[in-house]
């Protein structure tokens, strides 16, 4: 059986390993645009800050792929998938036949159409190449603006400030991380980040980028202007599903897959950030890993169901511990406990005495207790004692 995998991120790599585990004879090739071996993407942000070498988070070295008999083809762009013919075409023009194909092309950063967005000095931050470009351009620069105050935006802003830049982060919502935090929790997070040297502007968004050649300033919707020698746009991701779409596969927000990670084309699977399962595109490492594993097992003939991934409620943003679970808004019939001593914030929402939501900012012990309470492994009192 010939297996071809497009993309060497976590989904593609995990699938290759699952196939190998199931079928020692299978022929496995991973073809990827990236010139780098598979690495642990969440640590790119440390690489951007100059605090980690790529080698330290490259998970498997080249000899590992040889040992596993996985052909790992880097720096190779796939131009076309031809499902009717069971083969793909690379940009260089070689034709690669397959029995089973996995589309694991991942996601790219969403770049809003803002006037001047193509100016020099405006970047996105997704790959080693992006980080290299930003680091190079940042040399001798003073001021950076990050568009987007979500998780990626905050981490990127933090890394840029470690490179010595004065960073302002612009967020469109009323407070930071509105999906994870209430106003009070977000205020504390903001204060902690301001103590780390970051500045914030919200609710506002970029209306245009000005400057002669390179970007020099950002004009916001409110009319306010920010000086900027460098801009990084962190406005979310979009699936890289063009190849699949052109091949006639069913694509919605991402490449649509069933519970076996199979696409609408026979013998073709999809997993990771490019895949849409149950109307959901995750864009999260653990989900991509689980999907890759399940896809690989199915490709190798071991029927395996993927039932979705529950996103973790514990987060770390720029080293600050956050916990956010369930419905944390007050409402009729609900009682709310909150406390903000010792530079931390904790909130617990109960309905009929039952915990239905919680937030913790900057208290690792309370976060641990909260996650145990919500996993049903501890009594509410274990969490309440931190209030």
């Amino acid at each position: 059986m010939k297996h071809v995998i497009i993309g060497n991120g976590v989904a593609g790599t995990q699938a290759a390993l699952a196939i190998r585990k199931t079928d020692p004879q299978a022929e496995i090739s991973i073809v990827s645009e990236s010139s780098h071996l598979f690495y642990y993407r969440p640590r790119l942000i440390e690489y951007l800050a100059g605090e980690a070498t790529l080698d330290s988070f490259t998970i498997h070295k080249q000899d590992f792929y040889e040992k596993m008999s996985i052909k790992n083809v880097l720096s190779t762009e796939v131009a076309k998938i031809i499902p009717g013919d069971n083969r793909i075409m690379t940009k260089e023009g070689s034709s690669v036949p397959y029995d089973r194909l996995l589309v694991a092309t991942g996601a790219s950063c969403f770049i809003p159409r803002i006037e001047g967005v193509d100016k020099e000095g405006i970047f996105s931050m997704r790959s080693v190449g992006d980080a290299d470009k930003i680091r190079e351009y940042a040399k001798g620069k003073a001021k950076a603006v990050v568009i987007g105050g979500g998780l990626q935006g905050l981490e990127t802003a933090h890394s840029l400030s470690k490179l010595g830049l004065e960073v302002t982060c612009v967020e469109v919502a009323k407070w930071l991380l509105p999906r994870q935090l209430d106003a009070e929790g977000a205020r504390l997070l903001q204060r902690l980040l301001e103590e780390k040297g970051l500045s914030f502007v919200f609710p506002d968004f970029a209306a245009s980028f000005g400057g002669k050649d390179g970007v020099e300033r950002v004009t916001l919707k409110s009319g306010r202007q920010l000086d900027a020698d460098l801009v990084v746009i962190c406005a979310g991701i979009r699936t890289r599903s063009r190849l699949a779409k052109e091949a006639g596969l069913k694509v919605n927000k991402g490449v649509v897959v069933d519970d076996h990670l199979q696409t609408s084309a026979a013998g073709v699977y999809a997993a990771g950030d490019v895949a849409e399962h149950n109307q959901r595109v995750y864009g999260l490492w653990p989900a991509a890993k689980e999907q890759g594993e399940a896809a690989g097992l199915n490709m190798a003939g071991r029927t395996t169901e993927y039932a979705g991934t529950t996103p973790s409620s514990t987060l770390k943003v720029t080293g600050i511990d956050l916990y956010s679970a369930g419905d944390f808004n007050s409402g009729q019939g609900r009682s709310v406990l909150s406390s903000d001593h010792d530079g931390a914030y904790r909130k617990l929402v109960l309905e009929g005495g039952r915990p239905i939501g919680a937030i913790v900012v900057n208290d690792a012990q309370a976060m641990k207790a909260a996650s145990e309470v919500f996993a049903g492994k501890a009594q509410i009192e274990e969490f309440k004692k931190y209030f």
Binding site: V10, L17, Y40, P42, R43, S56, F57, I59, H60, K289
Partner: protein
């Protein structure tokens, strides 16, 4: 029992908890993890773990 940290992703192997999702019972010392056990978060192999200080 000694905990071990994955140097790639920061996952901590706690022998008291084991790794039940991957067939490792609570109480299994790091040294006794089966061959082929890898970090459940990033997939790094055992050689990339260090004792937690």
């Amino acid at each position: 029992m000694q905990k071990y940290v994955c140097t790639v992703c920061g996952y901590v192997y706690d022998p008291e908890k084991g790794d039940p999702d991957n067939g490792v019972n609570p109480g299994t010392a790091f040294e006794n993890l089966p061959d082929g056990w890898v970090c459940p978060v990033c997939g790094a192999d055992k050689s990339l773990f260090e004792p937690q200080k």
